[in-house]
Structure formats: C-alpha cells, structure tokens
Symmetry: C2
Subunit: 227 residues, 2 copies
C-alpha cells in the first residue's frame, strides 16, 4: 500500500483565503463603507494580485453574507439594517441556548478553566476601561465563542462562529450608536459561567436565554420606541 506523507499539515494559505480574511476584517472594522463597491480590478491592484483569487475571495464573503453580490454587476459591502440585526439575534438566541446546554454537559475541565480565565480578563478590562467601551467591542464575543466551541457540536460551532458572529460584528460596526449594556451583561456572564461549571444545563440555558433575549429586546425597543 502506498503511504502518502504530508509533513506540514498543508498550511497552504492560498491567496484567496488570505485575502478573504483581510477583507472580512476590514469590513468588520468598518474600514470599508457599508455600500462600497468592491471592484475586482481595484482590489487586485491594491494587493498586487490577479483578479482570479480576488473573485474567489469575494464569492466566499458573499456566501458568508458579508458582501452583497449581483451577477454581472459585482460585489458591495453588505448593508445591514437594524431589522437584519434583530433577525440575526433571534436565531442567535436559539442556537446559543442549545450551545450552552451542551457545553454545561460536555465541556472538559480545560475548557472550563479557559472560560473562567476569559471571564476574569473581561472583569479586569471592564474595571479599567469603564462601562461602555468593552461590550460593544468584538471581545465581548470571546465568551460566547468559547461556549459555542464547548458544545462539541461542529455544525453548531460552524453556524455560530463562521456565520452569525461575523455578521453580528458587521452590524455592530455599522450601528455604533447602539450601546452595550455594560455591567448588567457582565454579571449575566457570571451567572452563566457558574451554571456551566456546576454542569447545570437547565439553569445555564435559562440564564443564556435571558441574557441574549434582553439584549435583543433592548434593541427592539430602540427600533419601535413606544408600543
């Protein structure tokens, strides 16, 4: 039988992959304007690269919903409305409730320690930088990211981490007027954390549901002020 050997695990890093993640970051950071045209030629010359890989990168971002793509017309940075954000959060609640249930049951000790460390970091960051600076920043998601991975369900991880979270970050950067909920959210993280570490799936899911639902509700009340 023919053994095929592959010394470095093929860390291939093709150009289109690299480019896609660069563009993704720029979109999330808001360095690329919401409706901005993403011309293949322009991007290509900017990165001194041919149009082929650029095309692939754009198509990939399109599949992930970070870019609006129209055939024969081209790609533009996706424009996210507050309604889009609400829809996103609605799905997120369901999935993260599932994630935290599974995490409470299946997380390894290592993972739990990691989560605890994350929380401690956030706590200290918070006390240093003040109320609002942290919870509108991408780092807030680290906590939820760790829980998603702790679920041990690859399908769930993929949807949350590769699909929903990036889009959510784009939403946040496009609507910076929306403030995080500061101390309250951090305390909620604490309750979730302790429920997980005690392996109480039911309680953890309940806390998570409240945590995310209240975030969504506050956004909703902002969009429909009175009723």
């Amino acid at each position: 039988m023919n053994k095929t050997y592959r010394y470095p695990p093929t860390e291939s890093q093709e150009r289109s992959e690299v480019l896609a993640s660069i563009l993704c970051e720029e979109i999330i950071k808001g360095q690329l304007e919401p409706g901005e045209k993403l011309s293949e030629a322009t991007i290509g010359s900017r990165f001194e690269i041919s149009r082929g890989p650029v095309r692939e990168a754009l198509r990939r971002l399109s599949e992930r919903g970070l870019v609006d793509f129209v055939p024969n017309v081209g790609a533009r940075v996706a424009r996210m409305s507050l309604t889009d954000m609400l829809d996103l959060l609605e799905v997120r609640v369901s999935l993260e409730v599932l994630a935290v249930e599974l995490a409470a049951l299946k997380m390894t000790q290592e993972q739990k320690v990691h989560l605890e460390k994350l929380y401690q970091n956030h706590l200290s960051m918070f006390s240093v930088k003040g109320t609002h600076s942290y919870f509108q920043s991408p780092e807030d998601l680290d906590f939820h990211y760790a829980i998603a991975k702790g679920s041990g369900n690859p399908v769930l991880v993929k949807i949350l981490c590769e699909d929903l979270y990036p889009k959510l970050l784009v939403c946040r950067s496009q609507h910076q007027n929306i403030k995080g909920r500061g101390v309250k959210a951090l305390k909620e993280h604490q309750t979730i954390l302790s429920a997980i570490s005690e392996g109480d799936a039911e309680l953890a899911s309940m806390f998570m549901k409240r945590h995310l639902q209240s975030a969504r509700d506050s956004l909703k009340s902002l969009i429909e002020p009175s009723n």
Copy 2:
C-alpha cells in the same frame, strides 16, 4: 437624474451557479460517490466548460459543506457519518422549533393554505405508495421547508434551507438503510399543522420539538443500540 433600466431582472444564471446546483443535485441523489474525487479538469470537460467556473462551483459547494476541500489537493464529495447526522439534527431541532413558533404567529393566510395543501398531497401520496417510500424521500422536507419560510426570518430561512436541509439530504442518501418513521411522522405533521393554523405558537413548538427529537432519538438508538 440617470435612470438605469433593467428589463429582465437580471436572471443572469452564470455558469458556475448552474453547475453548482447540478452538482449539488447529483451529490444529493448519490450519483456521485461519497469520497469521490471531483477533478476540475474532468468536470470541466464533462460539461464542456473551462476550469474557472468549475472552481467557483466547487468552492461554493465547499462553503455549503457538500464537498470536502483541501487546498492544493482538491475537492471530494463530503463523506457524512451518522455522528454528523446527529449533530445536524440536534441543531435542526432548535432552529425548527423557533421557525414553527414564528410561523404560527406570522404566517399569512395564503401560506397556511399552501401548507395545508402540501399536507393533503403527502397524505394521498402516502396512501398510494405505502409506508416507507415517502418519508425517506426529499419530499418529506417540503413541509418543513414551508414552515421555515413561514417564519419570515431570512437568516433562519437561509440556514435551514440552504445549509441544513441539503446536508441532511446528503446524509440520507449516504445512509439509505435508515428508514423513515412512516405513519407516525405524518400524524405528527398533522398536529403541527393544526397548531399553526390556530396560531398557537406554544403548542406548535412543542409538537415540532417532539416530532424532530423522536426522529433524532430513533437514529441515536440505532447508533448506540443498548444503553
């Protein structure tokens, strides 16, 4: 101001798009073997098309999880294990429970009528073709498809219809030994349907959860026979 006119709404159908859906169908139908190599050149010559569009199609399928892609090596038809299927179904339960809740609240009269018709069709098909032939076929998903769309949440629709369902169909075609649950499942559809038409979100979600969870459980007991 410059009016730009676009008579046919740009039904562009680029080759890569067409090819992707053809390959998708062939994978779902099992005409392409699970681990089979998908060579760009081979596919290209088969459809009398250049490698460029073929690449794009394969990348798209890779993003959707129907194809395993390794840089510098190429694409193969995704090989789905029963564990993959369990993970898939676990996420599906959460999302469809959400979908049916929303559907019960927000479906239009038209949509409800459509769903009713679907159910009637399934009923008659069922009485003609016998117990098992229907519920392992793709048509079973039509019912769930309609509910997903009835949720009115585009994010949810995309994940269910473009991500989860195709993969689920691939799983089914790769494990044809797994039988549907026949009459029982059809009756469950009926209970869900009536809960929706009465706008009872709570009841609908409960029935949906039982419906899908029992499907998953029967698969699970098949994978771990005794405990």
